[in-house]
Each structure stands twice: as C-alpha cells, then as structure tokens.
C-alpha cells in the first residue's frame, strides 16, 4: 500500500471527525480539535524559527547572510543585525513590571518604522487613487448605462462618507445623505456576505472533493 494513501486516509478520517460536530459534540471531534491545535502550534514554531528568526537574526549575526545568501550591503558588520534582534527581545520586557517601560522603545521603533513606510503608499493607494476613481463624469455622451452607473457610484460614495462623518449631527441634508449611505453600506454587506458564503461553500466542496479522491484511490487499490 502506498504510504501517501495511509496519510491521505488519516486526513480523511480527521476531516470526518471534525464534521461530526455538526451532529453533536463528541470525543472524536474533541480529539481532532486538540490534535490540530497542538500540531499547528508546533508547526508554526518551526516555521517561524526557520523563516523569520534564523534568516533575520541568527544568520546575519553569525554568518553574515540574509535569507541564505551573503549580504550585499557594503560595510555590513555582524553587530548591525544584533541591534534589531535586541530590540525584538526588549519587546518581551513588558512581562516584567519593573522594567516593562523598556518595551516601549522597541514598540515605538517598530510602530514608527512601519508607519513611516506605509503612510505615503497607503495615502496614495487608499486615498488619492480612490479620489481620482470617484471623480467620474456624471454624464457620458451616448452612453446612458455608464452615466447611470457613475451617478450611482458617486451618490453611494458621498452618502457613505457622510455616514462616517462624526463632527456634525445627522440632520437635514446630512441626515438624508447619511441614510442613503447606510443603505449602500447594507447592500455592500449583503454582497460581501454572499461572497463569504460562497467562499465557505467552496472550502466545503474542496474537502468533499478530497474525500472523494481518497475513496477513489481506495477503490482502485482494492480492485488491483
């Protein structure tokens, strides 16, 4: 018997054990759940060590490598990777009340660094390009359907932005726009909900397909 068939069968049994919860909570489900929690914790520990800690901290310090290849930054010294490593360790100081304040330095550098890296591109991608995308012509000559879509989009955009405006009460025109906005938001949520249902069903279909393939393999093996 092929070894892969044994492992695939084990996976199929565990899948069925998890799905048995749909009928009633039972020891098989509990066993499968505890197994996945334990195995995934160990798996991610190994993944994080070999894919994050080793290439980012251990290798640069001890082997002057980054990602398994020699570092090409001129003048890079081994202790230069030590500093980020120490900052990372400082984050754990928050568990010791007397020196907990030290972790704020590391957190500050981490949050500040990432914010700086993200502000300009996010401002461009999430704000500027969306403003540009929203500045649509309301009347497109000889194209009534695009005109209609543009009007719908612009009205929804203005309404939604107004709904999330907190500096004024939602009264009068603002109130009307906010109401339009919440209708659009709910329609959007409906679409998102539908997509999510589709996604969950797709995952179920994938698992059923897998079970079918395992059953097929068994049938073929038994027939030979």
């Amino acid at each position: 018997m092929q070894v892969t068939l044994i492992w695939a069968t084990l996976a199929a049994i565990l899948t069925l054990a998890v799905y048995s919860f749909l009928y009633k909570d039972n020891p098989f489900y509990k066993f499968a759940e505890h197994l996945v929690v334990g195995v995934s914790a160990a798996y991610y520990l190994v993944i994080y060590y070999y894919n994050f800690i080793d290439p980012n901290v251990i290798s640069p310090i001890f082997k002057l490598e980054f990602g398994g290849a020699p570092i090409r930054i001129l003048g890079m010294q081994w202790w230069m990777a030590l500093i980020p490593g120490l900052l990372g360790l400082l984050l754990y100081a928050r568990f010791f009340p007397k020196i907990g304040w030290v972790s704020r330095w590391a957190l500050g550098i981490y949050v500040g660094g990432y914010s700086g890296l993200e502000i300009a591109p996010v401002m461009q991608a999430r704000v500027l390009d969306q403003i540009r995308g929203g500045s649509l012509p309301l009347v497109v000559p000889h194209d009534p359907s695009t005109s209609f879509t543009n009007i719908l989009l612009v009205v929804g955009l203005l309404g939604t932005l107004t709904y999330f405006f907190f500096s004024l009460k939602h009264k009068g025109v603002l109130g009307v726009l906010a109401r339009i906005g919440i209708v659009y938001i709910m329609v959007g949520f409906g679409a998102s909900f539908g997509y999510t249902v589709m996604s969950r069903i797709s995952l179920l279909i994938g698992r059923v397909d897998f079970l079918r393939q395992v059953a097929d393999s068994w049938i073929q093996w038994l027939a030979t």
Binding site: Y110, S135, V154, L157, L161, K169
Partner: protein, 397 residues
C-alpha cells in the same frame, strides 16, 4: 597664333568648376566603402535620465545628426552607441538607432557608476570617427515630483490632526456626535443587570498594538464602570496574554474609579488560547455554561466572529458588536442587535474617553473626508465642462 575654339574653352571651364558647383550626374557616385567614412555626430551629450520611477539605472544620450545624414555622399544608415567604463577604452555596443534619430535611452546601467559614451554614424560600410562624452553617472532621484499630491495631502492631514489634538489638549470643546451604538451598549448592560446575569465582553483577537484592540479597551473601561455600579459580573475572555494584562489593569482601574474596588474579580479576566478557533470554542463554552445576558464583541475579529454571534444568538443574549474588519461586519450585522460599523468603533472610544489624541485624530480624519469630498465634487463638476486636468493631477502613476 591660332586660338582654341570657344567651345573647347567652355568645356574646360565646366570640367574645372564641376566639383565647385557640385554638378551631380556629371560623374558616377562613389561606391559605399570606397569613399571616406560619414561625418561624425556633433554636440554629443549624455545625462542621467529623469523619470518618475527612476532608479538611477537609465542614461539618455543625445546628439546632433551627422552632416551626412539625409543625402549626400556617405548616407548614414544608423548610429551606433557604445558604452565603456573609461575614456578611450573600447566599449561595447549598447544600441543602434536608425538614421534621423538624435537620442538613445540606455537602460540597465548600474546606479552610481561612471560611464563614457561614444556615438558613431555608420553608412553600411564604415563608421565615422566616434564622438565621445563622459563621465556620466546615473543617480536615483531624490524627490519624485509625480508624488507631490501625496506630500500635499499627507501634510494637510497631519496639520489637521495636530491642530485638533492641540485644541483638545487646551480644553476646547470638540463636538463629536453621540454614536447610537453606545446607547445600545448601555442598554445591554442594563438588561443583564435586570436579569441578574453576567455581561460578556470580548475585546477581539488582535494584538495589543492593533488600534482596534486599543479602542476596545477604552470602551471596556466605560462598560466596567457601569457593571461596577450595578454590581453585574463582567467576564472578559482574551486571546492574547498581553491583552489580558492590559484588560486587567483597565477593569481594575474602572472599578476603583466607580468606587467599588472590592467588586473587581481578577478571575473574570481570562486568557483562553492564542489559536483562533480554540479561542472561539472556549468562548462559546462560556456562553453556553455561564449564560451571559449581554454579549459585547468589540475589537478585531476574523472568521470566528460568526461562531460567536451564532452561539450568542442561540442563548438569546442581547448582542452588540463593533469591528473595523469589513469582511466580518456582515456576520455581526446579521446576528447581533446592534453593530458599530468600522470607524464608529474608534469614534465611540474617542467620544467616551475624550482623550485629546483620539479626538484630534477623529476630527482630523473627519475633515480629511470633507477635503476628499470637495476634491471629488470639484473634479466631477469640472469634468462636466470637459476639464479633466484637475483630476489628472491626482494621478500619480
């Protein structure tokens, strides 16, 4: 003495002047390669190419056409551009362009390295004497001018946030409208008190540095003060150990401020599991066993959101949720009695705490929305009149 015939004299004069007057057709044109090479190009120059995404790896070489380009002896067929690392060093051909072209873009140079270029005209047989220029170095742009709109808007946003924060610090009354979801939170706690059952508060599964978790802890403080006054048990399960310690501090302080420090029970602030669905299972267990009458889900949630909302719905608890994770909002909206949508979570925490930084950033982002709407509306109005340049200025690619 007898003189030559005048016709002979005329022919002699014409033969002598033919080269001066360029009489074409009088003599057969020289075959290519037999004659002198074409004239070299003039005014050759090379400079670092400036474009929006310049990495310093492009150099533009320009020249004036060879005198033999476009007719005349030694018609130029193409120009050959060579690049080398030193003057007089034999370089490699990096490109050829047809006759009539006066520029070439050399892509793929190493930024920061000096190069020398020479350009020679080629007529099919021989090359002109090369004209050389250099050294020229490709440099990365210091400032991408196409990104100016980003700088302007970012600077405007920061200015607004800082101004409002400063105003709040000085005690100015910055108006924030009351979020309806907060009333729902207080009603939920009130109902739990009436029924004599606990309140369950789940601050999400985000880390402590997630802004949603921070907003959630602010609201937790407010809820803890109410439960302290009404002596309603408050259960706070967490998925992160650091969030648990932060929640402990917040609840303890809230109970002390409300004047009921002895009602605080540290056993009710529980760290359950880091694993997403293990946490979901454990919280569902709490709901089924301890039967809280009010479930509050405020913070960062992912796929476990539906599990919470469904289980809570089964136990007939009143449920209020709030998250900025857009993909989870539909589940909360469907199964909960009230939902704080996206930014309402942050607005609620700013409204409750009146913390200057929270208020400042809320007001700053509010007025940024006004600016965005203004730009869009202006862009739309101008496009009605056929003016698209305004919106185009924001196109940074």
């Amino acid at each position: 003495m007898r003189t030559h015939s005048p016709l002979v004299g005329l022919a002699l004069i014409l033969a002598l002047c033919a080269p001066v007057f360029g009489a074409e057709g009088e003599t057969a044109p020289p075959a290519p390669g037999e004659n002198a090479p074409p004239d070299p190009v003039t005014l050759l120059s090379a400079r670092d190419y400036l474009d929006n995404n310049d990495n310093g790896d492009k150099i533009e070489v320009t020249w004036c056409l060879s005198a033999d380009d476009g007719g005349g002896a030694g018609d130029v067929l193409e120009y050959r551009i060579r690049r080398s690392s030193g003057p007089g060093v034999a370089g490699e051909v990096v490109g050829t362009v047809p006759a009539g072209t006066t520029s070439f873009l050399d892509e793929g140079v190493e930024p920061g390295e000096a190069y020398y270029y020479d350009v020679a005209a080629f007529d099919g047989g021989s090359e002109s004497a090369p004209a050389e220029t250099g050294p020229v170095t490709g440099r990365r742009n210091f400032f991408q001018t196409s990104r100016l709109p980003v700088l302007v808007l970012a600077a405007l946003f920061f200015a607004m946030v800082l101004t409002f924060t400063r105003l709040a610090q000085r005690g100015a009354n910055l108006f924030v409208r009351r979020i309806p979801g907060l009333t729902a939170v207080e009603e939920a706690v009130g109902r739990a008190t009436e029924m004599g059952r606990p309140v369950l508060y789940v601050p999400g599964i985000g880390e402590i540095d997630d802004i949603q978790t921070i907003a959630s802890l602010t609201i937790l403080s407010h809820v803890a003060k109410i439960t302290a006054e009404y002596e309603t048990p408050l259960i706070v399960p967490t998925a992160r150990s650091v969030v648990m310690s932060a929640a402990e501090e917040v609840v303890k302080e809230a109970y002390a401020e409300a004047g009921h420090p002895d009602n605080y029970s540290p056993d009710n602030i529980r760290y359950l599991s880091d694993a997403q669905f293990a946490f979901a299972g454990a919280v569902s267990g709490i709901m089924l066993r301890e039967r809280p009458a009010a479930n509050l889900y405020l913070g960062a949630f992912w796929a476990e959101s539906l599990l919470f909302a469904e289980t809570g719905f089964e136990t007939k608890a009143i449920q209020v949720a709030g998250t900025a994770n857009v993909s989870q909002l539909p589940f909360f909206v469907t199964a909960c009695d009230y939902t704080l949508i996206g930014e309402e979570l942050y607005a609620a925490s700013a409204y409750l705490s009146k913390e200057p930084k929270l208020l400042g950033s809320l007001k700053g982002s509010d007025w940024m929305k006004v600016v965005s709407i203004g730009i869009m509306v202006l862009g739309i109005v101008l496009s009605l009149f056929g003016v698209t340049g305004f919106a185009g200025w924001f196109f940074t690619q």
